[in-house]
Amino acid sequence: MTLTAPSRSPSSSPSRAAIFGANSGIAVAVARRLAASGARIVLIGRDGEAIAASARDLLVRGAAEVVEIAGDFAAIGTTGDIVERAWTAFSGIDLALIAYGSLPDQAALEAAPDAVEAMLSLNLASPAVLALHLASRFETQRSGVIAVITSVAGDRGRKSNYLYGAAKGGLQRFLEGLRHRLYAARVQVLDIRPGFVATRMTEHLPRGGPLWAEPDRVAADILRAVERRRAVVYTPWFWRVILGIVCALPRPLFHRTSF
């Protein structure tokens, strides 16, 4: 007899997942939750050793199968090949999570604008191109989810991070259009907008306080949004309220703020 076994509903969890940027803190947390539900998972990332360590970990945590693919998303020309390999690993994908990106130093970019191109490339052009390669396949498959991590930074341009915000905001517009396109094929396009998450990407920032979230909480929000076929998810939820206020601030007032 088993007294209770709630919280585990394998039917609603995608059985084939591909995670692009599998070493990001949020990606690892999502992959662990998927593994616990017995999913088959493709991990794609640049650091082969870290991917291999993660693959072993996921197998112990319950993943049915894990495939490792080495890939550098900064080389946009290779994303088509990466998608091809990820797609064929399990003959199709139920959930594709695009989780890579870099959080640039705004002041450094303003001082050396030439570096902006590489930043925009990795945070906007690359995920957009990769998602396009995925889109045609999902369109034919007529099911599945393309989930992309953008950021609350994309909602309104602010002096402290408008370059990163431009990339993420551009990605949000792209996903909006892609969602429109894939609606007819019943493919879900999920725009994930996290706030401050305690991962390696934010290691250099002072942490702590109520606005910071652990990656596992964000992962839980992402999988719930996938289950509920949402279009946009703010995670944790309170960022929707915060950004609602930030975006509603009249410009004269907004310009006097310093965040």
């Binding site: 007294l3 209770t4 072993r56 390696r200």
Partner: protein, 457 residues
Amino acid sequence: MPISGSRRSDYRSWGGTVAGEHLVYRPRSLADARAALTATGGASVLAYGNGRSYGDVGLNPGGRLIDCRGLDRFIEFDRQTGIVTCEAGVRLADILAALCRPDPDGSGWFLPVSPGTRFVTVGGAIANDVHGKNHHREGCFGRHVLGLDLARGDGSVLSCSPQSQPDLFAATIGGLGLTGLILSARVQLRRVVGTGVEAEDIRFAGLDDFFALAAESEAGWEYTAAWIDCLATGAALGRGIFSRARHHAGIGVPPPALDPKIAIPFALPLSPLNRLTLLAFNTAYFHKLGRRGRRRWVGSYEKVLYPLDKIGDWNRLYGARGFFQFQCVVPNTVARDAIAELLARIAASGQGSMLAVLKTMGDLPSPGLLSFPMAGASLALDFPDTGAPTRQLLAALEAIVVAAGGRLYPAKDSVMSAETFRRGYPRLPEFLRYTDPAMSSGFARRVGLDNRLREAA
């Protein structure tokens, strides 16, 4: 990629009485952890797990810390043999959640030994050679460690086990992190007939009844411990509630959640735990079992093994000044009298807390040279830090333990003298042959384990 640390002052002991500035590294891979260990800087270094040690054993004020929580990957699990290999920062809670789900018949793999919280790392469990309510049956955690990889300050990595490097292995079990940095470990899980438990709580009137219940329960109950009303005096001295439990065939319960439902967000300037609330709580708790004084139930092991894990950051309840934890073990021959003396001294002081735990320990030896448990009785309780009176009380209790031929538990301690430590741990000279000169801790310096002190001696 070189790993860099950051200066931080927010690493504190669980009791909140020890803090300090550390240069902290937060490696995300075993390679980064090794790099952090050998990074130049001169200052000594120590592994930090999940921060559940009560005193200075997990801190290295003024030196470097390697925060191992990013080393949280499983490496291998054999479902036939129950042997798990994982990185040192995997928590016991993660093992329960990932590997201890019951089969349809209720049986499953389970932690062989678990301390009173599941939020400790495997590395920390080894370094403190933790024990649990089943000590009389399974011994310490170290008995179930089949092997470990240990990185040393000279850049080497040694695979240690009872077969290979057995001396260094024995020194590292319960070695308080002073023999190097534990990178990964292989642990033998235990097969249980049901992950759920059958439990019984029995009220008892005094110490003689406690020891009788403990003796009676030893054979049939794998988990035993008692809550003691530390304010009771005279004829009621040592009264409390004896809890015993055992895995129940056919009853499978899923692992408890990884994050507690209730959390204490911050420490209040004044603790709500004072003499008055303590008296009210203890009186009510002692009588909770009703007229019969006995209750039997079947259900989750969480209530038996991890009652405090339900409240996140419960240590903050003690307020901003924090608290001391005291845990000793005294040998069987004098246990009855020594425990009575300790309890009388505590009751007379009016200090103490709701959480006073008495348990008998078995005679299963641990491989560790500095392991805390020994056959006898162990008493553990918290004392809110009220300054000098608390320290005087702790010193008095320490003296009673030393006179009884007992010892104090480094994982809980913040105050014991070097002499008390030396007398309590007779294999210390042997241990010192295997310490790593790169490692140190606040505890090591306090009790004279630090290498420079050792050389001077």
